[in-house]
């Protein structure tokens, strides 16, 4: 008879422990009203509206986010990502790889400074940090709508927070899909999966900690903008007279860069073309094949990048990027000589 209460107590203890175990990692958000100043013309429950909300939140809120980048075959990479807007309305952003010797990127306005081991620090004139996130999902979500369908999937719980899941699928099925989970409250990204055609996961970003604050993180106050390395300037590339044309470019992709480059690794001169749809950047290398550069055709994946290299006509074509091998092959096979 005396045992019953004790049983109840002990089971309650167990339950409480379980609840604590399964409680969110260390996600704590201080209340911050969501920014509603966007020109959000989409219905409030549409995927487009959510993307615009995310974009606004990423650009306007003061937050500190910890996330982990997972790729097949390599160790997980933990990052710290902080963002703030100072009194002058200038965006400040920091991205720090937390494992190993580290890599720190600081952006103040349009100046992005890279601090990396074994390389003198340098700055670039840019409004984004080229990190693990797709380059333009935060900056210009509208652009993605040309190439991708956005599908509202539903709500779930990510990182201990209520999240809205959105599936992003390329319209012509020529690229990998994405699943993103956005914070219900702030619109910030909580999780992002890149998946292949059989829904197998190829790459994952998982936020593990999220703090939204009224004031920018004190870290930004310590930065002295004049101490940052100088911006490396590039002269705009001259118009290119190429002999070659890519016949097939997947829907929504455009050529964002095209030049001749000397590869720093091999010293060979190649024609370089970058295709981008805002989410995925693909490098296409065209190299004229002379007698002794015979090579075998290869396709494979390096981490989450697909690498394809084939002989095509008088060219060796190499394509690297996060896209299915079949698409890479179709692009490579469509290269033809200008008339």
């Amino acid at each position: 008879m005396l045992k019953t209460p004790r049983n109840k107590i002990s089971s309650r203890v167990v339950l409480t422990l379980l609840i604590y175990i399964f409680l969110p990692l260390q996600v704590s958000a201080q209340e911050e009203p969501t920014n509603n100043t966007s020109s959000n013309s989409y219905p409030s429950d549409s995927a487009q509206a959510w993307l615009v909300k995310m974009s606004d939140a990423v650009k306007s809120l003061n937050y500190s986010i910890s996330f982990i980048l997972l790729k097949p075959g390599v160790d997980s990479q933990p990052y710290l990502w902080r963002h703030g807007v100072n009194e002058d309305g200038i965006e400040m952003e920091q991205l720090n790889l937390l494992n190993g010797p580290g890599r720190e990127v600081v952006r103040i306005g349009n100046k992005v400074s890279y601090f990396e081991p074994n390389v003198p620090p340098y700055s670039l004139q840019s409004s984004i940090i080229n990190g693990p996130f797709p380059s333009e999902i935060f900056q210009r979500p509208e652009k993605l709508m040309q190439s991708y369908e956005f599908i509202m999937v539903g709500r779930s719980r990510i990182s201990g927070r209520s999240a809205q899941q959105i599936r992003i699928i390329s319209k012509d099925k020529s690229r990998f899909g994405f699943n993103v989970w956005l914070d219900q409250e702030t619109g910030l990204l909580l999780k992002m999966n890149m998946f292949g055609h059989e829904a197998q996961l190829l790459e994952q970003i998982q936020i593990t900690g999220l703090q939204v604050t009224k004031e920018p993180d004190p870290f930004f106050a310590k930065i002295e903008p004049e101490m940052l390395p100088d911006v490396v300037s590039f002269s705009p590339s001259a118009p290119l007279n190429s002999l070659w044309t890519i016949g097939y470019i997947p829907t929504g992709m455009t050529i964002v860069k095209r030049d001749f480059r000397r590869l720093s690794g091999s010293g060979e001169v190649v024609e370089y073309i970058m295709l981008s749809d805002g989410l995925v950047d693909v490098s296409v290398y065209l190299q004229k094949r002379d007698g002794n550069t015979s090579q075998e055709n290869l396709v494979g994946t390096v981490q989450s990048d697909t690498l394809l290299t084939i002989e095509h006509g008088e060219l060796n074509i190499t394509i690297i990027g996060k896209l299915p091998a079949a698409t890479a092959n179709a692009i490579a096979k469509s290269v033809r000589r200008n008339n």
């Binding site: 167990v14 399964f22 075959g73 390599v74 390389v119 080229n130 590869l263 290299t309």
Partner: protein
């Protein structure tokens, strides 16, 4: 009353036999009178004591006291025999009761774990198990014209490996400098110094020798 006791006393002492008729009267009276019955017992006890004939163990009759105690005892109903009274079950059931709440807690945990697992199953387990942790070229995706024959000269394979590494390095650089329109060829950036700290493609294991 006293006459009655006197007769009884005489009878016990064996001095009443002269009067046979009254003798039987006394005996009848003793049979019917509770007081006389008690007196009968005590007179005999006294007589035995006086004659030093007391037994070693005086066996007082406690039957009526027990009967009386049973009368005043509250009724205790013996529980019906159920399957719980079977020896094994009887010992298991309390334990099961004890463990019941633990079991609920445990099943909640299991449900959560299963839920979490299912929730993440397609996400985490499959791909990272499916993709073997080998950096470098893998034939994992649909081969385009996958003709990895072994008669390729060694120098050519090395050459190609070097070239692919160069492409990978360049690709990562291009992504890094994406927002910038690079000028032709060599740029102001110390290209040759920028090593990507992320795992470089290592094709040594995968390229046939």
């Amino acid at each position: 009353m006293s006459q009655k006791f006197e007769n009884l006393s005489a009878l016990v002492d064996g001095e009443h036999d002269a009067l046979t008729s009254s003798n039987s009267n006394v005996l009848d009276a003793v049979k019917n009178d509770a007081d006389l019955k008690l007196k009968w017992v005590s007179y005999h006890l006294i007589r035995d004591g006086l004659r030093k004939e007391l037994p070693v163990n005086i066996n007082f009759d406690i039957a009526d006291k027990v009967a009386q105690a049973l009368e005043s005892e509250p009724a205790i109903l013996a529980p019906k025999k159920t399957w719980r009274d079977l020896p094994l079950v009887g010992s298991v059931v309390p334990f099961a009761k004890q463990g019941g709440q633990m079991a609920i807690a445990a099943s909640v945990a299991v449900a959560m774990i299963i839920g979490v697992q299912q929730f993440n199953q397609s996400d985490v387990d499959q791909p990272f198990n499916a993709a073997p942790p080998i950096p470098g070229i893998q034939g994992g995706l649909s081969p385009v014209s996958f003709d990895q024959t072994r008669d390729i000269p060694n120098s050519s394979a090395v050459e190609q490996r070097r070239r692919i590494n160069a492409y990978m390095t360049d690709h990562k650089q291009q992504l890094r400098f994406k927002t910038i329109q690079l000028s032709n060829g060599e740029s102001v950036i110390p290209d040759q110094n920028i090593k990507n700290e992320e795992a470089q493609p290592d094709i040594v294991e995968n390229t046939p020798q």
